[in-house]
Structure formats: C-alpha cells, structure tokens
Amino acid sequence: MAVSRPRPARLALVRRLAAAAPVPVFVARGLGAGRADAELAADRRLHLVGSPRQATVLLATGRFPGRLGDALARVHDQLPHPRTALWWRRPGWAEVPPALAGAAAVAELAALPAALVAAHRALVAGGPSAPDVGPDQPPQPFEGRGDHGQGGEGMMGGVPWGRPMAMPGEDRDGLALDELSLDLGPFQPGFPPGLVAHLRLQGEVVVEAGVERAGGVDGGPAVDPVTERLGEPGSPGGRARAEARAELRRVADLCRLGGLGPLAARAAAVAADPGARAVDAARLAAAVRRSRLPARWAGVGRVGGIGAGDRLALALARAEGALARADGGAGTLPPAPATVDPDELAGALAGLDWGDAVVTLASVPDPSEAPRPAAAAASRAP
C-alpha cells in the first residue's frame, strides 16, 4: 500500500533516461482476451514484469466482472507511483470496473505497444499518476476477539486483518507444522484468465488446494477477435494459423515462467508474425529443447496423464503442425490435450512445491484459450 508520495526526481537527465527505459508493464488478464498479451514479449520497448511493484503501467486485458474487478482494484493500488492503467477493450465490453474508470482504452492488439510506450513516457515526464482506487487498509478488521484479539481462541484460529492465522496440520514428514492459507491468482503472470487457486501451504509445499474461476467460466467470446481475424473465418488456413498462434502464446507464457525471457520473446515474435512458417516454429522448438525446460518440467504436475514438460513440448509440436497446415502442407497436428476438471487439477496440486504448483496451473489447457469455430464464438458473443 502506498504510504508516501512519489519523490520528484529533479534531474532532467534522470527523467530523460527513465523515459527511454523499457516500459515495465504488469498485465492483468481478464475474461475474453485469452493469453493474447503474451505477444507483447516480442517488443523490445516493453518489459513484462512479474510483480505490480515493478510496473509503471497496468495493462488490463478483457472484461473484469464481479470479484475480478475487486482484485483488479487491489492490484492497481499496488503499483508504485507514478503509475497509470491501460485497458485493452473490445467494442461491446460495456461494464467498466472501478480500477479502469479513468484508464485510456485501446481496441487493437497491434496498437498496444505504442500506446504503452506513450503512456509511460507521459508519466515519467511528469504526467498525473493514477490515484488509489480502494481504501489503504486491510481487507477486513483485526476482529478484536480472542486472547490476542485476532478473532480466534487462545492463540489459534481467527482471520486477523482478513488473513487466516497459520495453523498446525499433518505433513509429509509427520511433523505437524503450521499451515498458511492464501489465494494464488487471478492475475498471477502466466495463468489463464480468471484462474484462482486457494492453497494451504507448509513451507513451500502445497498441502491442500482448491481451484476456481473468478467471474465464472469465461462467458465471453472464447476466441479472441484478433486471432480469428488473422485468416478468413472458417477457412482451413485461417483456422490452423489461429491454433498455432494460441499455442505459441502458451509457449511464450511458459518460457517466461521458466525464467527464459529471451525464448519467450522469440515465441511471441513467431506468434505475432502473420507470415510465420512451420520452420520458424521448429527452430523455436529446438531452442526450447536445448534449454532443457521440457526436461526440467517432465514429471511436474501430472494431469490427464502428462506433465507440464510434455504439455510444453506438445504445444510446440502443435504450433509447428498447424503452421505447416496453414501453408497448405501436410503437417501432423497432434490432438489438443483435453481440458481439465478443476477438482482433478486441485488434486494434482497437493504435495507439489510452490514453483511446481504455479507451473502446473499455468500449463494446463484452459477452456478460454482453445479457439473454436467462428460460428460457435459468434453465437456466444454478448
């Protein structure tokens, strides 16, 4: 929470240098836009950051109904001053979340990088910083009951300041150590839109998990309009290209999560290239294999029979096959992995450590990102 006003940097040189720095962008994924923002990794002028504390610009993509809007407001206030928000807003998304009331809106994905850079420069040059949306206080009061006033009995239990107290529970070594409860998501970088995991942790090991989709299962167009318009809707080439693009966005997300920013940038560049060929995807796949990322994640988060590493390799293979088909070749397109039931996913999280749990949640196929035929998407559009 903000406690002090930004210090004005008097040196013009510092401001000039700061304006020329890569724009630190924190992306909050809403419903209806899938992982489209992953393509921004290809732009050198942007720096997709993992924590809102680093960013100057909050990029909100999609719709933020209900609790997603509240979460967005909290993330918005976590950005340090000077800050601003930008909304990737398609025509037809009427509901305006409180955090984006004063935010500039951009409708085209292709126009986003320039808009982000312009917003950053204006901000650093001394433009107005976005004020807090919510009050600067914990999500709920301390409670005032119990021996220590935390709301539980004795020193145990209670939800002081809205945060569950750590409680002992069984663990894998038979030591009943304290457990900590927390929510992961919905704006964890790399996660599908709206995905929230409720975790109970001992150390960094997940003891118990629940998975839900904040704002419900994506009710908007499952296909993002940009992807669909790449080819003629319904034509085989356009459809294959859209599938390749969705897979490459996933690859970019996963590479970034694996700490391989440069590979994420390459994947994003192939995804954003309307003339990408199968050989580009093949080269990317070779570089990803050489990084040993699929091998490192081989056994991580087995859901539906395959682990996170296999899912990454599969996404790369599918992208290559789809691009070959888009060019009229006879590429083999492996079948897409089945989407996963939230309960099954939650079961798979128990016993994983933090990093593995995040990778699992980010890599499982999500109903919101699989492109569907244009007709189906159109019939669901609000």
């Binding site: 004795g154 020193m155 750590a166 002992p168 070594d173 038979g174 304290d178 457990e179």
Partner: protein, 214 residues
C-alpha cells in the same frame, strides 16, 4: 602486530566491537521476533569475531564468522519452519522464572568480573610477526592430531545422531511418533493443542504447547 604494539585505532575498535557484541547479545532476548533474535545473536558473534581478529587471531576470527553465520541461518530457518509467520505478528513475551534467571546471569557476570580483575594471569603477550595460521595448521595436523581427529569424529557422530533423532523412522522401523501423545495444555488437564487432539474435542483449545506466533 602484538596486542601491546597495537595502534590506537585497534584499541578503539576493540571497545566498539566488544560493546556491540554485548549490546546485541542483550537484544537477543529482548526482541519479539525469533528470526530477529537469531540475527542479533549472529551480530554478537560477528562482533566477537572482529575482536578476535583484532587480538591477532587471523584465522580464528574469520572461521568464527563463517561458522556462526551458517549456524544462525539454520537457526532462523528453524524458526520459520516451526512458525510460518514472517516478521512477527503477535508481539508477546515467552519467559519463565525471570527473577532466578536475572540473579544467575548477574552472578555469572560478577564472578567473571572478579576473576578478570583479581585473577593472576601471566603477562606473556604473543610475539609479533608469527604466522598464526601456519602455527594452528601444524598444531592441528601435528602434535594435536588426536584432538583434531576426535573433534572430527565427534562432529560426524553428532551428524549421524542428529539425523537418527530427527528422522521419522524409529529404531524399530515404525514411525517414531507412533502412539505418542502431546501433553495436555495444563498438567493433568484434558485440553490438547489444536490439530493433535487424541479425540475430537470440538474447536481449538488455547494453545500453550506450541511456540506461538511471534
């Protein structure tokens, strides 16, 4: 440089580090966060390490810093392992028999001071220019080889013992905690710490047995 020929800045440094060692040592038991306690104790060790360096223990001072840093980091980890609570949430005091402790501590200090001031110590400062590191090395691997080896074997035994003690498997193969019960919260009482009740006792009892949430 022998202690006698030490320049004035070494004298000042000695007292600065010495007083800092005592001050941080006191703060160890006067802070409401156990992680902070561990790091304050580390600070006390670092200051003593600096004093030992000033006294001419060029290897000892550094080795003290090295060993104590590792030990205190492990200590801090233990704190967090047993109470997953960053930076201290509920400040509280966890002390008992405070009067006895103060008397004993003051007594030990007084005895030490008397010993220091009244004791007859030979005045034989160490020679300047001697290679203390080489001397220690040849002592460890020469005349005192037996001591060195004993220390090594003791450390090994401690490691094996520590693993055996803390492992879940008992000597007889089963879980070491099989059939064991936590003590009740009050001696003879029937309330047990939360989560480990021998039978469902409804809700969470007050929790005196566990280290609490500092």
């Amino acid at each position: 440089m022998t202690p006698d020929q030490a320049p004035a800045w070494a004298d000042v440094g000695f007292w600065v580090f010495a007083l800092a060692a005592v001050a941080t040592g006191y703060r160890v038991f006067r802070t409401d966060s156990m992680v902070r306690s561990a790091f304050l104790l580390l600070a006390s060790f670092l200051n003593v390490g600096a004093v030992v360096l000033l006294l001419g223990g060029r290897y000892l001072g550094v080795a003290l810093v090295f060993m104590m840093t590792v030990e205190m980091t492990v200590m801090a980890i233990f704190m967090v392992a047993f109470m997953m609570n960053p930076a201290g949430l509920n400040p509280m005091s966890m002390v008992h028999q405070p009067r006895l402790a103060v008397v004993a501590g003051a007594g030990a200090f007084g005895g030490g001071v008397l010993l220091a001031l009244l004791g007859e110590f030979p005045d034989r400062p160490r020679r300047a220019g001697a290679d203390v590191i080489a001397a220690l090395g040849s002592q460890l691997l020469g005349r005192s080889m037996l001591v060195f080896e004993t220390v090594g074997v003791t450390l090994l035994a401690a490691m094996v013992g520590a693993v055996a003690l803390s492992s879940r498997r008992s000597r007889f193969g089963g879980p070491a905690d099989e059939g064991s019960l936590p003590p009740p919260l009050e001696p003879g009482g029937d309330r047990y710490p939360a989560g480990v009740v021998p039978e469902p006792a409804g809700g969470h009892g007050g929790h005196g047995g566990h280290g609490g949430h500092q």
